[in-house]
Symmetry: C2
């Protein structure tokens, strides 16, 4: 079948069932070819391929509106909605993002990248339809893994009361990114085992009508099920049992590895450019495993992303009951950490910067007000991390450091990170967050403190005069480079590792006034609400000039980090020139 002839869903509505099955096979071949060369979300897209074909065969997108949860499974949707060439033509692979994107197509309703949002977002579309007297179908697609998120529950609880058409397609592949965790999953298993007939039914308990489809990769079953619920006048759940990675043996066999990945060998599934280097994930997992042996009360917590913390299946097994995966439930992870700390255990939650956003209130209300010594390790909090607009790692400094009682530490390298982690786990004075520095591991020799309980003490690594460079976390190396470059130009700069993002070393800052005219701050995040602005405010009434360097407050999608840093003057050349100008 010439896939490039499929310009819109209308083109597949003409096909008969046999042709649709051929289409699915052809889509899989093209999809796998792109994935093997380009990388991406492998398992989720293979698993939902037939369902996507069936959805577009039965429903009339974009009049009928399909909202995909996380939308990492939307590749086939893109193929069927006018973006086929982004999959068939290697030169055009990068003309589409990895998530639904309204700027690409009228078939995409939201830019999405976090879990558990599709039902809530779609419920708004449904309510708007009802207010306007529309009749179109509203369809929310959500995976079983995403059901553990509180937003998904809130969405389902509300949507069940709409009283009008609302279709939730539950894509149950019996997996989250890793295995599922939560009591709900026993019910999903029961429903699968009873072909949907069990009385104990989470979806029915919330008020949904319910239909079960045992063969969620069988186009005929899917079409039949979708035709039955099309135009159904009440909220209904269609529960599909699908196979993650369906049709590609290596992905079917190792579903965790093939959730997301880079280019791979199409025959064996072996990665083409396996990452052999050291990662902060390894450092975290190795070090916490070691600490667990010494402290049976140390508990590492993940919210559905054990891989981010370097906790492979083997390491999870080694940690045993000292490793807790709460499912994709960041609120639970943080509040539970507060309870663990109150109960005398030592909780360490590891989370991606962007997903930490789900838990602002728990960081504040459940942990900080109680001043319980929970520890959070924040990964990918950097300009050099994930560059999809839904996954930016720029906002965590403003998020964490402005909540009272949190000590937010910014190690500059692997050695300082481990020193801070050691201290954070040992201390019981209050909550501590650590910003894992960037993505690539850097090493420094030096003498790193083992005790950070005297908070907000910055460290002067080089004592100079006229200008002080306060270079936080992953920006420290750049600060060093600039200090070196300035030294070459005859300027003896002071270089400071602030270590604490959450407060000011007012004594040191006060002392700097004596022989410094300029202070610059460097941070790996957004300027607004960040670290540097606190320094600027401190010096506001003095004669010291302050310039804050960081990223401007805006959303960027698939940006080039080098260009962004350049534009933000976060390069050695630009900073050196700026400082020389300020000193004139």
């Amino acid at each position: 079948m010439d896939l490039n002839l499929i310009k819109s869903p209308a083109d597949i509505k003409k096909l008969d069932l046999n042709e649709l099955e051929t289409l699915a096979d052809d889509l899989r071949t093209v999809l796998l070819t792109k994935l093997s060369k380009h990388g991406g979300h492998i398992g989720p897209n293979l698993g939902f391929l037939e369902a996507t074909v069936a959805l577009h065969y039965v429903f009339d997108s974009p009049k009928d509106k399909i909202v995909y949860d996380v939308s990492h499974q939307s590749y086939v949707h893109k193929m069927l909605t006018g973006r086929m060439e982004a999959f068939t033509d290697p030169a055009k692979y990068d003309t589409v993002t990895g998530y639904t994107e309204p700027s690409e197509s009228e078939h995409d309703f939201f830019t999405i990248g976090h879990t558990s949002t599709s039902v809530s977002l779609a419920s708004g579309l449904a309510k708007a339809r009802d207010l306007k007297g529309g009749k179109e179908n509203i369809i929310a697609v959500i995976g079983d893994g995403s059901l553990s998120g509180g937003e998904a529950f809130e969405g389902l609880d509300y949507a069940a009361t709409l009283g009008t058409n609302f279709i939730v397609v539950v894509n149950d592949n019996e997996m989250s990114i890793a295995e599922n965790h939560g009591g709900l999953y026993a019910d999903l298993r029961l429903l699968r085992n009873t072909k949907g007939t069990a009385d104990v039914n989470y979806f029915r308990s919330l008020g949904f009508a319910y239909r079960y489809v045992p063969y969620g990769n069988d186009i005929r079953s899917l079409i039949k099920a979708f035709q039955e619920v099309k135009d159904y006048p009440y909220p209904v759940v269609v529960h599909l049992n699908t196979q993650k990675g369906n049709g590609f043996k290596p992905a079917e066999a190792d579903r965790e590895t093939f959730h997301y990945g880079g280019p791979f060998d199409l025959s064996t599934g072996a990665p083409i450019n396996p990452y052999e280097g050291e990662g902060y994930d390894d450092i975290f997992s190795e070090h916490t495993l070691k600490m667990m042996k010494e402290n049976p009360l140390l508990t590492v917590i993940t919210a559905g992303t054990p891989g981010v913390l370097g906790y492979t299946p083997e390491k999870r097994k080694a940690a045993g009951r000292q490793f807790v995966d709460v499912g994709i439930a960041e609120q639970q992870a943080v509040a539970m950490a507060s309870g663990l700390a109150k109960g005398g255990a030592r909780p360490v939650f590891g989370v991606v910067s962007s997903f930490l956003q789900r838990t602002y209130d728990q960081l504040s209300h459940d942990v900080a007000i109680n001043n319980n010594p929970a520890v959070v390790n924040i990964f990918y909090g950097t300009v050099n991390g994930m560059n999809d607009v839904s996954h930016l790692g720029w906002f965590d400094i403003a998020l964490v450091s402005n909540i009272p009682n949190w000590v937010y530490l910014a190690p500059t390298c692997a050695e300082e990170y481990v020193a801070m982690l050691d201290w954070a786990v040992k201390q019981t004075g209050g909550p501590v967050a650590i910003r894992v520095p960037g993505v690539a591991v850097t090493h420094r020799s030096g003498d790193f403190d083992t005790d950070y309980s005297d908070t907000n003490r910055y460290k002067v690594d080089r004592k100079g005069k006229d200008v002080a460079i306060i270079a936080a976390g992953a920006m420290y190396s750049l600060g060093e480079e600039v200090a070196d470059a300035l030294a070459g130009a005859g300027v003896n700069a002071t270089l400071i590792n602030p270590r604490f993002l959450s407060g000011l070393d007012t004594e040191l800052l006060e002392d700097l006034k004596a022989d410094h005219r300029v202070v610059v701050t460097l941070e790996d995040g957004v300027l607004d609400g960040g670290f540097g602005q606190k320094i600027a405010s401190f010096y506001g009434t003095s004669d010291v000039k302050v310039r804050n360097y960081g990223i401007a407050k805006e959303f960027l999608n698939r940006y080039d980090a080098r260009q962004l840093l350049e534009a933000s003057h976060l390069t050695s050349d630009k900073l050196t020139a700026d400082i020389q100008n300020m000193l004139k």
Copy 2:
């Protein structure tokens, strides 16, 4: 019974069942007397009175650990755990807070004030117990209203998998603050109607064992039920059907009004100091009801607090399907607003500043990345609002204004508020938040813009020189006072209403450099991450001196607002003196 003889739960364990019933009556009398003179959470405490007696009779607090959700129903718990005099002795009424508070008693495990957290917090205590090999009972108390929050679902979903003792007491009084909303509530009704025997059972679907208690205000039934689940080795839900406001006729009859209130007449329930004045809640509800008539797509959303928005039962009825209560589910409220906006409707979510914290990720990911024109009205975002540590209204500026794409407006008075609300609902350029100014309504005559689409344009209300006072939102009146005082001292200050908290009027700020040496910023919130620090950063490399006025980053409990403002120099006298000093 002499209640003052009850010093700890041990003292009630000696009583027989008849004496316990007498005790309950006596507790109710004392509780009602205090509530009638002092105000507080009336309905929740009356409804859970017998259950609290039964819990302390059966379990061994503090070894067994009881965690109360919101903890607004913990008054009787306080009476039974060494704090009786705070209820029997009017002089000591204020020696306890209105929530559980570890600093008061070893029977209180967390400072709590937000909903839906008890199960998550208690699950951490349970896990810590298991790691330590303990055997005590862990009990989470949660109301039916709180079950609609995503954190409660996440907690239940996790706790169901603990595999050890974990008791969830569901206090089902068939009410949230107002009526319940969500599909779950039909299941709770079904369970009540079937005496807990229905197969469709939310709690069982998550994996809990389940027990139903039809008479949740009957001490004998309660004791029997709690004795049966004590030391139960698996997670179990005890579902109580209680009567909110039990034993006080006015509170039983009008459960919404008697959820929380000030002093009242013990015989009639009539408020003793009824508030007759105008409130921003009235302004919001009246104005949005008016707008609804002109725009059938305008939708006001609350997350379980319609009263905060002035939406009485009558007004909710008048708004009909244009008023949506999603239950206590702030994440759903914001994400749904994004969907409504995308679908062409005009959503306006109203929320208390402190509860907005639950939805940072939805403000960012679900709304702002999509730039959908959702409108949020933030109430009690002020130092002059609720002063319990769990309800502080200080953090919303740092929360909202540092997320890209949100326009965060700070009206200075009722007239400007309405002008901004009108514009926010009409425009479709992107998301707009409005910080409802303080609590008491202020009026100003003047010419308020009707169009704010040219963002970040500050308004110079008085053009002076040497010093510029940038006074945001509710602080504007203070700015005016200071400008007047300075004028009396011969200083002609510039007075600026910035209107936008989320960005800088760089052109105006640049112009000020010509003839101003000092700029001061006044904001009704925490300095860290707030409005003023952005101004300080802007002027960092110039000769203009900047001083930011606001509140220091810390948690305070039941503070005195006047003292706090004084200590923060946010008074006319202190500001005037400071500015005169800076100009010297």
